[in-house]
């Protein structure tokens, strides 16, 4: 898989209240959620983000609530991937489950600046900063997570297991 886009930079502990505030959890509509994505940390993000853009965070991205609305909002806003030093565990599993590509890379988080053009080559396990001509390594994911990605997310994985896949 190749992902390419412009980077938006955020700090440490970007929590799920920042990603999608509690007041918007009375809907499951991805487009409605996308309109409020990152609202309490960057009010202009939802209006300005372009499909294909990437989010680059620091430590503990996605901490706080288990709300799946958080990765849903990010994905529906058109963000192609999230890169961070580390991820909170529920956000991590939610992202794999719903098919939002996320990549753990302290190097990338440190090296990428806001506005940089970034390309991700999952075959090679590399994040390329095209603006600064730097490459960063992606922390490898456990084999089971690879299976989930290959299956296309948890729903597809379970469908195959239960024999309810089309």
């Amino acid at each position: 898989m190749k992902i390419k886009g412009r980077a938006w930079k955020f700090g440490d502990n970007i929590n799920t209240d920042a990603i999608i505030p509690g007041r918007y959890l009375n809907t499951v509509d991805p487009d409605a959620l996308a309109r409020h994505c990152m609202e309490d940390v960057d009010h202009g993000f939802a209006a300005k983000v372009k499909p294909g853009d990437l989010i680059v965070g620091g430590k503990n991205f996605g901490c706080g609530s288990s709300r799946e609305h958080a990765p849903i909002a990010i994905k529906a806003a058109g963000v192609s991937a999230v890169i961070a030093v580390s991820f909170a565990r529920i956000f991590y599993r939610n992202s794999f489950n719903i098919g939002l590509p996320i990549f753990e890379s302290p190097e990338a988080s440190g090296g990428i600046a806001a506005g940089d053009e970034v390309e991700i080559d999952t075959e090679k396990g590399l994040i390329r900063n095209l603006t600064r001509r730097e490459d960063y390594h992606i922390t490898p994911i456990p084999p089971f997570m690879e299976e989930l990605v290959k299956a296309g997310g948890l729903v597809e994985y379970v469908k195959k297991k239960l024999g309810t896949a089309d």
């Binding site: 009375n26 489950n97 719903i98 239960l162 896949a165």
Partner: protein
């Protein structure tokens, strides 16, 4: 090599002799839990999976607690999705307005949680049930859908960290202060992906309400779960609420921990977490002058009868400061009824506090006490991120019920000693 209590519970639910940190398992769940904001997505995905019946209608628990009694039409539609599904699936444990409470206070109270259980919930504070010696962890809505369909969840075995507390608690210091102090020391990612095992003589003497508070906030340090080894206090609590037999596990003497951290509680004073991370904990005496607009006493963290008794002791014969709105939310109908019987609700009302039916409400900025721009609240809840309780410029401080009640009277954050 011995195993920790969490490893033992996980192994038992994966049909394995033993497990080690890093192992991936498929675990059978004793309970799969959802609420009115997380279950609608789960139900949608359950149908997308192509499942017709839940794996076990006694083990899927749905609680309408977050935006209930419904705060607007959209929330009502979400609650209806739960209600319709519960009826269609004939769920034994569906709890609606008037019969429910905040899920993490309700499940233990109803005897649905046993030591040795493995529980997943589409709510991050599912880790609360570790207080009863269960391995309980928060997951997302799609995980809940998969568990409803298959009765299983994929889990990576966490490393365990042991937190040992020694000494006698000072007056007004309880489980909330211990956990705020701990998160203050280790940070909001200090236990990321770990099982937090709380132990030591202080914990052995801590009543169940305090244990619930501590395990509830394991997630605020990034923990996969919090857990306290079942003992006499656990068994006494459980036996009053169910005839079902618990499975009692304990960590082996040679269990391997990533590390062990020890705390002497004698010097711990009541704690307050400043905006905007739970790790900004300080002793209440270190705060200086912080005036407040609202105090919330309640939530899955501190909405038990014990918490209300502490608050009532301080508010008895006193009045809430004229600049402060006090909102008291018993965590379940049973807590509400007990508080009524004990005369606590009358104390709160006479003090000019507002008493609410059980709901998560203001904790996540939903309803029943949302904040305007620039307002400041002190709450016995569990999170104080930016915008958590209302406007982006509002602020939330966290504390236990004693400091919350005293501060409601004083109009500023203070220790009960000061009033």
């Amino acid at each position: 090599m011995g195993m920790t209590i969490v490893e033992k519970i996980a192994a038992a639910h994966a049909g394995r002799e033993s497990v080690s940190p890093g192992d991936m398992i498929m675990a059978s769940v004793d309970i799969a839990l959802g609420n009115d904001i997380t279950a609608p997505i789960a139900i949608k995905e359950f149908k997308a999976i192509g499942a017709t019946n839940v794996f076990d209608r006694d083990r899927v628990v749905l609680v309408a607690d977050h935006f209930t009694p419904n705060k607007d039409i959209q929330s009502a539609e979400q609650s209806k999705v739960l209600r319709d599904f519960a009826r269609e699936q004939q769920l034994t444990h569906y709890y609606d307005v008037g019969r429910c409470g905040i899920e993490h206070a309700l499940l233990p109270e109803k005897g649905l949680v046993l030591p040795g259980d493995l529980i997943i919930g589409a709510d991050s504070h599912t880790c609360t049930y570790g207080a009863l010696g269960a391995f309980a962890t928060g997951v997302g809505s799609t995980d809940l859908a998969a568990a409803m369909a298959t009765g299983e969840v994929w889990l990576r075995i966490p490393d365990s960290i042991k937190y040992v507390y020694r000494g006698k608690l000072r007056k007004w210091v309880g489980g909330k202060d211990l956990i705020l102090y701990t998160i203050g020391k280790i940070g909001v990612d200090g236990a990321r992906y770990k099982a937090m095992e709380f132990a030591g003589e202080t914990i052995e003497r801590l009543p169940m309400a305090g244990r619930i508070t501590m395990c509830n906030m394991a997630i605020e340090a990034g923990g996969k779960c919090g857990i306290i080894s079942p003992d006499g206090i656990t068994l006494d609590y459980v036996r009053r609420r169910t005839d079902r037999q618990p499975r009692l596990y304990a960590s082996d003497g040679d269990a391997r921990y990533e590390r062990t951290i020890e705390y002497d509680v004698a010097d711990i004073e009541p704690q307050v977490a400043l905006p905007s991370l739970p790790e900004n904990a300080r002793g209440v005496s270190e705060l200086g002058e912080v005036s407040i607009d609202q105090v919330v006493i309640g939530s899955c963290t501190n909405g038990q009868i014990d918490d209300l008794r502490v608050a009532a002791d301080i508010l008895r014969g006193r009045r809430v400061h004229r600049n402060v709105r006090l909102i008291v939310i018993p965590a379940t109908q049973a807590v509400y009824a007990e508080a009524l019987r004990e005369g606590l609700l009358e104390i709160f009302i006479n003090a000019e506090g507002a008493v609410s039916t059980p709901t998560c409400g203001p904790c996540l900025g939903g309803h029943m006490g949302v904040l305007a721009a620039g307002e400041r609240a002190l709450a016995t809840t569990n999170r104080n991120f930016v915008g958590r309780m209302g406007h982006q410029t509002s602020e939330v401080y966290l504390s236990g019920p004693a400091v919350a009640a005293a501060s409601a009277v004083a109009g500023r954050i203070c220790s009960p000693e000061e009033i």
